[in-house]
Amino acid sequence: MPKFDHYIIIGNGPAGNSAAEVLRMHDDQARVSIISDEGFPYYYRHMLCEFISGKKKEDALKVKPASDYKEKNIRMRLGQRVERIEPETKTLYLKHMEKVKFTRLILATGASPHVVPSLSRFEKHFSFMSKYSDALKVKPLLSPARKVAILGGDLVSLKFAKMLSAMKKEVTFFLYKDCFYPFELTADMASAIEKHFSGKKIKTFADIFPSRIESKGKAFEIETENGENLTVDIIFCFMGMRPNINFIQGSGIDTERGVLVDEHLKTNVSDIYACGDCAQIYNPELKNYWISVGWENAGIQGETAALNLLGESKVIKPSQKKILDVEGLKVNTSWWKEL
């Protein structure tokens, strides 16, 4: 048995990092480890667009320096993938063939890009912008690209389209208003977006979607439902996110769309918690599960999970509603998406 507790957090985003900080703040004896399959240190995801456009340098993405983890004695295991959890023996099986024991575990694995079923057959042609590694792949492709298509089903896609337009790219935007993320897009919002994009010379398809996508050399040919053909150099897909929980399947930890947790962020397995984009949180008032989105919520949940892991009994509450500006329209949202 380890001399001291070993708290492990899987995930190196805002939820995982705030959990690690809280654990270290309240327990200076325990071992605290963050394991992440991403090799790049904790970074601002929302700055990836600026990174690929060249407005931000790599160092500006980093939330904190490596020395911060050293000072707090938080062990970082980056570029390491957990392949299996064995709750009975409290063991994690890592892809590089290492077994790591934990006394308590926080799952903060975040989420990955979602592709709507109608587009899944074309997925191999898409570029994503959800992780630093995506940005690294995209950056050299974007520079020579002249024509770009965006399959836009979330807020990030709107920002990204404007950024590409400012970079003098010829942008075609397919607006997926019926499956928009993280809130439902009203007709007013959709029309405001179209209007705004038209001013920016972004060609927008609001109700017409690709029916065929094929690669042609280095380019891609898109045929729309109304028979229009266009050729682009790169296709981006933004359809919201799906919790990263594949490796949890079969462990005995209950999952649905995400990891199911109660309002204390506890899973059905003792000493295992989940928070951030990967967690599906029970709301007793609604008698239903919710998935939260957003950096700030993830941080709050990380703190809550950590405090509860240490013996407190904090209840996670949806954050206050925020007013977002969607192309001139004010949107009230709590940043919580009902499933």
């Binding site: 090799g39 790049f40 240190p41 320096p65 490596a66 020395s67 911060d68 983890y69 050293k70 938080i74 062990r75 970082m76 295991r77 980056l78 570029g79 390491q80 099986y93 890592l94 892809k95 590089h96 063939m97 290492e98 077994k99 790591v100 024991k101 590694s133 690294l136 792949k137």
Partner: protein, 592 residues
């Protein structure tokens, strides 16, 4: 075009091909035109599971020291490599086996020990090697392949270097190694997303010259001895000098010479003195424990005025000490070891180039001045691999330095004739009318034992007078930097001198008023130059690899002033970074 200056370490177990991989890497990078300095450390045991590290500093700029911090650590064995992580830079790269054959318990895998900021690339070394050659033995080549892919090293050229390395082996061995390299290269290209910024592909290189050779200190000494016309090498194996003996065993017979493995070190030096007496150039090579034994007889070379060249490649001491670790702690022994007042020549090269130069010089001086010449290397220098311009061969004067007696001398031959230079014409055995008595006893001009005080004083003075001539034969100490009003003067010797020089150059770049001095010739020491240098410097710093500061103490008797010391006995070469830090610390103190 960018500059590059990086340190790569490959760490594994003995028998895993760690040192071979490092050698291939160094040779290949050298062939591309990079400056390289490599240094291998390995266990004292002949074979087993001890730790091996192949350390290579590679740059397109001049490099003088091996580099303290690692930019890329290639892990062939996790448990051996975990202690190497402390030297990896914050944003350094670690390449490790991501698919070993069985699960490691927690923390037995290097992946669990990496510090925040390090970049880890997991490569399935075992499985790729198995796929390539049906055996995991080739994982060192898989690692090289992955490195080539990740850091922009040309694939085809690298394969050629591997083929050259194994050219004498069976085709199946060559194929296994090349295929393993290829697997690593392709896999890394396809599967690893590069997060670091290290690349060799955008570096401006110096033009590769045809006559550039890759050689380590021991090889340079051996080559220089062969080029200087050595006829006998007698020795008893000892780390780190054995390699010299091995080369001699292979090469000397081809040139009509003899390599004699003796029963001990005493016998070895006896044979060398015997050959020297017979007029043949001879040498032995040992380390501290062996030199200690030899001191019983080195005095004979001095007293009987017989040329003898002795290499002492220092290792950690005392006693059998640390056989495979480097140290500069035999200085006092070499300067003064042995009985009586026994003037000798001591040469301490600081680079591989100087290993060649000083060996040629040792044979020349020993022969001309008929005395003992000691070459003082260390484990690091002996094993430090550099790519150097092919050295100039010793000229006629260097190859035939004996001052033979003239016909007039032979009419009334006095082998130990008192002369102004201290050199008495030396007749070789068999020279008509050139008979004499050679003895370890004090003697008169004809070699006849004589113990009277006048003879002893005259003969001692004669033997010491040779030092004046020797001093004039050798270039004065290197003085790099301002000649007056220097804030910090750094004096060093042997392999540490190169690190010290690099540190001084770096300090000057950041505005520190520093100067550097070192001398390959330690005995006789060019005292005037050291005194002048000292007078020009506000503070004198002497870095060296021993605990007590042996060279600092030796200098103090001439400089008569306080000396700042920087001593390390880590078993590793002196990092120029440590000397630089010390210089900056002194500079700060001076400002206050």
């Amino acid at each position: 075009m960018a500059d590059i200056d990086i340190v790569i370490e490959i760490c594994g177990s003995a028998g895993e091909g760690t040192i071979s991989a490092g050698e291939i890497l160094s040779r290949h990078m050298s062939s591309l035109g990079f400056e390289i300095m490599s240094f291998d450390s390995y266990p004292s045991e002949i074979r087993g599971f001890g730790k091996c590290v192949a350390h290579s500093r590679i740059s397109n700029q001049q490099i003088l020291s091996p580099g303290k911090y690692t930019d890329i650590l290639v892990v062939l064995n996790d448990s051996h490599s975990i202690p190497q992580l402390h030297a990896v830079r914050e944003n350094g790269v670690v390449i490790y086996d991501s698919q070993p054959p069985a699960y490691h318990e927690e923390d037995k895998s290097i992946a669990g020990w990496m510090a925040p900021g390090m970049i880890a690339y997991g490569i399935p070394l075992h499985s790729l090697a198995n796929k390539a050659a049906g055996s995991a033995r080739g994982r060192n080549m898989v690692a090289l392949g992955a490195m080539a892919a990740l850091f922009g090293i040309d694939e085809e050229g690298f394969k050629t270097s591997i083929m050259k390395r194994y050219a004498t082996k069976k085709q199946v061995v060559i194929d296994s190694n090349v295929n393993s390299f290829e697997e690593g290269y392709v896999w890394a290209k396809k599967n690893v997303q590069k997060l670091d910024h290290l690349t060799f592909s955008k570096v401006k290189l110096r033009k590769v010259t045809q006559n550039r050779i890759i050689i380590n200190g021991n090889q340079a000494v051996a080559q220089a001895a062969l080029d200087s016309g050595i006829k006998l090498f007698a020795g008893y194996p000892i780390t780190p000098a054995t390699k010299i003996m091995e080369i001699m065993g292979k090469e000397l017979p081809k040139r009509g010479g003899i390599m004699l493995q003796t029963e001990d070190e005493l016998s070895a030096i006896g044979n060398v003195i015997g050959a020297g007496f017979a007029g043949k150039r001879a040498m032995t090579a040992t380390s501290g424990p062996g030199f200690t034994l030899m001191t019983e007889m080195t005095g004979l070379a001095v007293m009987a005025e017989v040329p003898a060249v002795v290499v002492n490649s220092q290792r950690g001491g005392p006693s059998t000490g640390l056989p495979t670790k480097t140290e500069q702690s035999d200085l006092s022994l070499v300067l003064a070891g042995g009985s009586g007042d026994s003037p000798r020549i001591v040469l301490a090269p600081s680079t591989v180039e100087e290993c060649y130069e000083s060996t040629c010089l040792a044979f020349y001086l020993a022969e001309k001045y008929q005395t003992l010449a000691v070459l003082l290397l260390d484990f690091f220098l002996s094993n430090s691999i550099r790519n150097i311009d092919e050295p100039s061969l010793p000229d006629k004067k260097m190859l035939s330095a004996n001052i033979s007696p003239s016909k007039t001398d032979l009419k009334d031959y006095r082998r130990f004739q008192l002369t102004e230079s201290g050199i008495s014409p030396r007749a070789l055995p068999g020279t008509p009318l050139g008979m004499f008595v050679a003895t370890g006893l004090e003697h008169n001009e004809r070699g006849k034992p004589a113990y009277d005080s006048k003879t002893h004083l005259e003969m001692t003075e004669k033997r010491y007078r040779k030092l004046d001539g020797i001093l004039k034969e050798v270039s004065p100490p290197t003085w790099d930097g301002p000649k007056a009003n220097v804030d910090i003067g750094v004096i060093s010797w042997g392999s540490t001198a190169a690190s010290a020089h690099e540190a001084v150059l770096k300090a000057r770049k950041v505005g520190v008023n520093a100067a550097f001095m070192s001398s390959m010739l330690l005995v006789p020491l060019n005292v005037d130059h050291f005194v002048k240098f000292s007078a020009a410097c506000k503070t004198i710093l002497v870095p060296e690899l021993n605990y007590s500061g042996q060279f600092a103490a030796h200098l103090a008797q001439y400089l008569n002033r306080p000396i700042e010391k920087l001593n390390r006995i880590t078993g590793l070469p002196m990092p120029s970074e440590d000397i630089f830090e010390k210089i900056m610390e002194i500079a700060d103190t001076q400002k206050r």
